[in-house]
Amino acid sequence: MIIFDNVSKIYQKDWVALQDVTFHIEKGEFVFICGATGAGKTTLLKMIYKDSEPSRGAIRVLNQDLKALKKKEIPKFRRKIGVVFQDFKLLQDRTLEENVAFALEVTDTPPREVRKKLMEILTYLRLSHKKYAYPYQLSGGEQQKVAIARALVRDPYILLADEPTGNLDAKSSEDITNVLLDINYKGTTVLMATHSISLVKKMRKRMLRIEDCRIIQDK
């Protein structure tokens, strides 16, 4: 499903973000990408949805060689991948429902299907009762759930989460991690980047540990 083959990312002469990274993630896996801030987790995730190009090496995602993927094909490719961030990236001037619907509407989904999908996803994440609330009226955990709803509403094959619990308290963090585990349980491949080793240890899932731009541990 995701293959990194000797991938390096060098931003400038002396600034290396990732060095000779090789790994293979199977369909349906749940993988933690672990490492300190600035270790290269975000760069790694960005390369999966082609927001960043590797300087060396090859990447295959969903049976697609990313180097061969044309610029025009990127939007279609991205619809198969959901992304969630630490800062949620919600549109503050839109309600919860509008934020989620936005992802469907800008990708040309018929209105009838938008309504159906919205109902499904909001029910699943238990957000229906707050669908007219604006992001600033929601707690951090709820906002992240909205971001997850937006990422999931198009039924992606892969869900990437970049420090999704970084801004949340312990209780909400656990809540969000459980949501991600459940999504994985239903068949979606999930990659979650985090700097919290303790969280990872509790979960007993595969972990790629990045340090000094290299993968130093894969278990």
């Binding site: 939007p75 619809r79 990236k89 992802a103 800008v106 990708t107 040309d108 018929p110 937006r150 198009r154």
Partner: protein
């Protein structure tokens, strides 16, 4: 479908970011007004120069024995002569009385009409200069029945030099204004797009095509250009009305200006937002 959503997004950004939209609309309107005002000045400058140019002519005075019809025909045959108008001595006197108005009694000292008959010789465009005037007036002088010719000569060349400088200055200024207007409008559009960078980022992330992302901004550009153009035209119209009060009649083709400001605004809006969005999309 996608156009409907795109336009809905455009309307949304206009209504939600009302103050920003208003600000950039103001910038567009004022810029277009400046441009249209300066075009008005330029048009009238050219018109004035044209009128002045047409006034360049040779006056040929006839003596008593002249055969008017034959002379007129002969002068008209000279290369560079556009039109020959006969002014009889009676007509000349009447014109002079008109010109003198209240002080026309002065003419009573003459027992008979002192003014000779004359031809007003108008020249073709290429001959309206010192050399042309000299050459043609020389040829006229050779004809029997002509006493004397009168023309501006050097003065005409000096006038041409001055108008030439004014025109160059005007065109230079126009170029600067066009450049600044493009710069200011483009910067403003960039600012409004930057204010919505999160929207663009999310649209990219969830897989909206670049064409789709551009729709709301293009729509906003069109609306802004349309409104900005209309406001600019109205400001120009007001200025024109005030100016005619002071300077008399001016040349102002209303429809062309209305069309020009609106079309200009929309072109700036569409092209500007297109370039700015494209930069954002990399």
């Amino acid at each position: 479908m996608s156009l409907r959503i795109g336009i809905r997004e455009g309307v949304r950004t206009i209504t939600r970011n009302g103050s920003l939209f208003f600000l950039s609309l103001l910038v567009a309107a004022i810029s277009l007004f400046l441009l249209s005002l300066f075009s008005l000045v330029t048009f009238n400058l050219y018109k004035a120069i044209e009128v002045l140019d047409e006034k360049i002519e040779i006056i040929a005075f006839l003596n008593q024995r002249a055969n008017v019809d034959a002379l007129k025909e002969n002068i008209a045959k000279i290369r560079g002569v556009d039109e020959v108008i006969y002014v009889s001595s009676e007509q000349a006197l009447a014109d002079l009385r008109d010109e003198l108005q209240d002080t026309e009694e002065i003419l009573n000292v003459f027992e008979e009409n002192p003014l000779p008959a004359s031809f007003r010789v108008k020249l073709e465009k290429d001959f309206r200069n010192a050399t042309g005037l000299q050459e043609i007036s020389g040829k006229i002088m050779l004809l029997a029945g002509i006493d004397e010719t009168l023309y501006g000569g050097e003065l005409v060349d000096q006038l041409k030099k001055v108008t030439g400088i004014i025109v160059m200055f005007d065109l230079g200024l126009l170029a600067i204004i066009i450049f600044s207007v493009i710069f200011v409008i483009f910067q403003t559009i960039k600012l409004t797009i930057f204010a919505r960078s999160t929207e663009i980022e999310i649209m990219k992330l969830v897989g909206a095509s670049n064409g789709f992302i551009a729709i709301p901004f293009t729509f906003e550009g069109i609306v802004q250009g349309l409104l900005g153009g209309i406001i600019a035209f109205m400001l120009t119209l007001i200025t024109y009305r005030v100016a005619t009060y002071f300077f008399g009649s001016l040349f102002f083709p209303h429809w062309w200006f209305l069309l020009g400001t609106i079309a200009g605004g929309m072109i700036f809006g569409i092209v500007g937002s297109g370039i700015a969005v494209r930069r954002f999309l990399k």
